[in-house]
Symmetry: C2
Subunit: 497 residues, 2 copies
């Protein structure tokens, strides 16, 4: 029974208890903690231990059986199944082996346990979502448009929404027209659609190093060669960038000039101007991924490249996942003139169009001014966390010997361990102490180790920030000490309580 003691079910979750239990037992099987032919506990016994009805156990076991994880033997109980996997799938797998991307992604997917403090996720917690407002507008759209809200939409996007976005953009000094706006199902699709339109097999793409994992995955899936240019505290290394451009003649240059992911660094005004100059000089197509410029707490100049792009060399990607609701899958592109047909074709072959209902609701959001209120609300929430985070880092991290510099906005903080230390290992030690961090290695294109790591404030409540940072500082101190001790042959490390 000791394997089952760790199982905790959350009665307040919208997910059924039996489903929670199913998932936890499935995890035990998949992790190898329960092995073939192991017997599951008797129903009544497990129900008593977990404090639930026997029907919860019966349903969970039933689902496990249906999914092939367990089998029943009448009169003697329920047992973990053998896995039968010896059919054509094996041959297919040899023919189409899993590649790097998946290992990369697996490392990005972090199992969140109860009581963990997660600095790993850059996604807002769901309690920050303006569900009630959204519901009112959703019903308004349904009453107004009826079936039209569910027909195929223009691939380029719902026209009134594009109109509303033209006005919205004018407020951030981006002057454009509806014909240059392309609605997308989230920023990830934006990167994908741009790649389809402009990147062929063996083309080169220049990215910042480190950079957003999802972009690397998409570029690789087009068979592109990826060239990384380091990002410094005031933006990408411009000299190296120009050299790389001359050497590799890239099809695209993918940049995040404000509060870069994962570093939080922002480009200086000079570097932004220089990027536009380079674009002109070498006829470059720049992809600007703007996922956070709205959250500029201590920086006056968070101009986008697009706003200073007078020659039409920047494709601007706007995501709302971090400041609105990621599950909506909604964002947009601002395109240089004339290339929208090419993007439109790529969008069409990707998913034809983005959900019309969500587009219509978002249109009302912008037009009724609710959007502005929401952004102000999110700014307030995040700024509070940002300020607490800064204080805690100053208080607890200065002694640890790790390196960092504070961003002037956004959600991410970036740290380096002293030379010779691998943040992948720190990630494991921190997780043992119920703290989730994101190891830097996943943000590099061809590096399995890194002494960097990212902490994000998007999904940590203010009260947990201090607890989390204090504990993490202890983990880091022990981690560095442990490594030193190891060299002497000792291993005194035990999880902190």
């Amino acid at each position: 029974m000791e394997k089952y003691i760790g199982i905790q079910l959350d009665k307040n979750s919208p997910q059924h208890l039996y489903m929670q239990l199913f998932q936890k037992i499935r995890q035990l099987i998949m992790d190898g903690k329960l092995k073939e032919k192991d017997k599951l506990p008797p129903i009544r016994q497990l129900a008593n231990m977990l404090g639930v009805n026997t029907s919860t156990i019966v349903n969970a076991y039933g689902l496990l059986e249906k999914e092939g994880f367990v089998y029943k033997k009448i009169g003697s109980g329920t047992f973990v199944s053998e896995r039968h996997d010896n059919d054509l799938s094996d041959i297919l797998l040899q023919k189409y082996p899993l590649d790097e991307d998946i290992r990369l992604m697996d490392r990005g997917q972090i199992q969140i346990k109860e009581n963990m403090i997660s600095f790993a996720s850059a996604t807002p917690t769901t309690d920050l979502f303006p569900v009630e407002d959204f519901k009112i507008l959703l019903n308004e759209v349904l009453d107004r448009d009826k079936g039209d809200a569910f027909g195929y939409q223009e691939s380029q996007g719902y026209f009134p929404l594009r109109e509303a976005l033209v006005n919205y953009l004018a407020q951030s000094n981006i002057q454009t027209k509806t014909e240059n706006i392309q609605i997308i199902s989230g920023a990830q699709q934006g990167i994908d659609v741009i790649s389809k339109a402009f990147v062929d097999y063996n083309d080169t793409i220049i990215v910042e190093s480190p950079t957003y994992t999802g972009a690397i995955g998409t570029f690789k899936s087009r068979g592109a060669k990826i060239v990384s240019v380091p990002i410094l505290k005031d933006g990408i290394d411009i000299e190296l960038l120009e050299e790389s451009i001359k050497l590799y003649k890239p099809k695209l240059v993918y940049l995040m000039p404000n509060f870069q992911n994962p570093t939080g660094y922002s480009y200086s005004r000079e570097k932004k101007m220089k990027i536009i100059e380079l674009a002109k000089k070498y006829n470059l197509l720049i992809v600007e991924d703007d996922y956070l410029s709205d959250l500029s707490f201590y920086r006056d100049d968070h101009a986008t490249l697009k706003s200073i792009d007078e020659i039409g060399s920047v494709i601007y990607i706007k995501s709302f996942s971090k400041i609105f609701m990621p599950g909506l899958r909604l964002g947009f592109l601002v395109l240089p003139k004339k290339i929208h047909h090419k993007i439109l074709a790529a969008k069409h072959t990707s998913d034809i169009s983005t959900s019309g209902l969500n587009q219509r609701v978002f249109d009302l959001y912008l037009k009724k001014g609710i959007w502005k209120n929401h952004i102000q609300y999110m700014e307030k929430i995040y700024k509070e966390r940002f300020d607490i985070m800064k204080k805690c880092i100053e208080k607890y991290f200065t002694q640890t010997g790790i390196d960092y510099s504070f961003p002037q906005g956004g959600l991410n903080f970036w740290f380096s361990l002293p030379e010779g230390y691998d943040a992948n290992k720190l990630y494991v030690e921190a997780a043992k102490n119920n703290i989730l961090i994101l190891p830097g290695s996943i943000f590099f294109t061809c590096q399995n180790e890194s002494r960097c790591f990212r902490l994000s404030i998007a999904s940590v409540y203010p009260k947990d920030i201090e607890i989390g940072i204090r504990k993490l500082s202890q983990v880091i101190e022990k981690f560095i000490k442990k490594d030193t001790d190891k060299r002497k042959g000792a291993d005194p490390y035990t999880p902190l309580l």
Copy 2:
């Protein structure tokens, strides 16, 4: 003013009148019917002619100006702008020229005017959408799940929905598990994701000829070579298929075994079994696109390949766009075992996940049995149209000399003109008479002409079917006669009234 006489605004449309007017004048400019420096009519005069308020005209002109289509000269009126397009975009366009796909797509996009009878669209009219049911379930989900409905979802799909789909599939004799189901944002994304996972530059894909335009576009965007094998009235030409497999060693074989698009043909049981045999013999991965097997009016055996696939060689794509609401962008894949990680990575780089809200609503649809009622309703509606269509074709088309065979279900009918006639030209003549058909050429991979065309009943009301088919038969008779006359040097053709 004669250019404006054709403009009709629909006061019952949910779209604002000024927006309608804006779009129509913009179209006149884009079509070259209004030229640079042409003056737009005075506001009051146009308002009188169209029977609307002057504010409608003022707003439409204002939007045209904002979008750069017109400019105002104080005291003298509003004029059509020059188009300034001489910046970097021109260079970009030279660097990244528009390709075949776009021309293909442009031809697929058909401008629907008022009073047109459209046999072109295979999409249901929006009045058939179960908006009221959907709205109730949507509100139920929002009240139950709140913010959770808008967070990032599992990339593989909302677990309870995958569970519901396992049960749904069991009813069509497809036995699977939740781990083998991948939720997608519509069938088009399914094709895209499968391509990303399995198709590299220069790989070969075998398709039926003719086949679905959207699939061709996606395969081309991966740099794949496409090999077409003709489809016969009982399914693909099996001998040619086997020869092609031996010759080209395809990465994928893309098939629609039931009510194929565009032909409406279905595979015989023998051919279905043979496909599975070939898959086993050559270790093939078969992609089965099932967009219509639900609408089997006169066919007992509409088994899917997946239901007879015992060796795990079929990826099954299920779309609901034709029988539910296309704007939802929701469908799913059933995968052979073990390859779901590869598909999952491709899905992740495409759009991370499908809208969680729509997934949750659809889950309730299935679990509450509302889905079953809806499908029965759609079957009834479509069967009525199908029967009327058959009767009308028999009544009016037998004299015209065109060839066809009736499908046993689905929405599409496929016709061939006599040898030497091009359906692209018939398409133009039919459109002049307010009848929309789809010329066959868009369904072939490398053919600009075809004597075939497709008629679909999805968006034609029963009362219009007879009117439309009668008129089309007259167009066809004249078209064939015209062509014969042309050879004699005459051109007596004028639009039928």
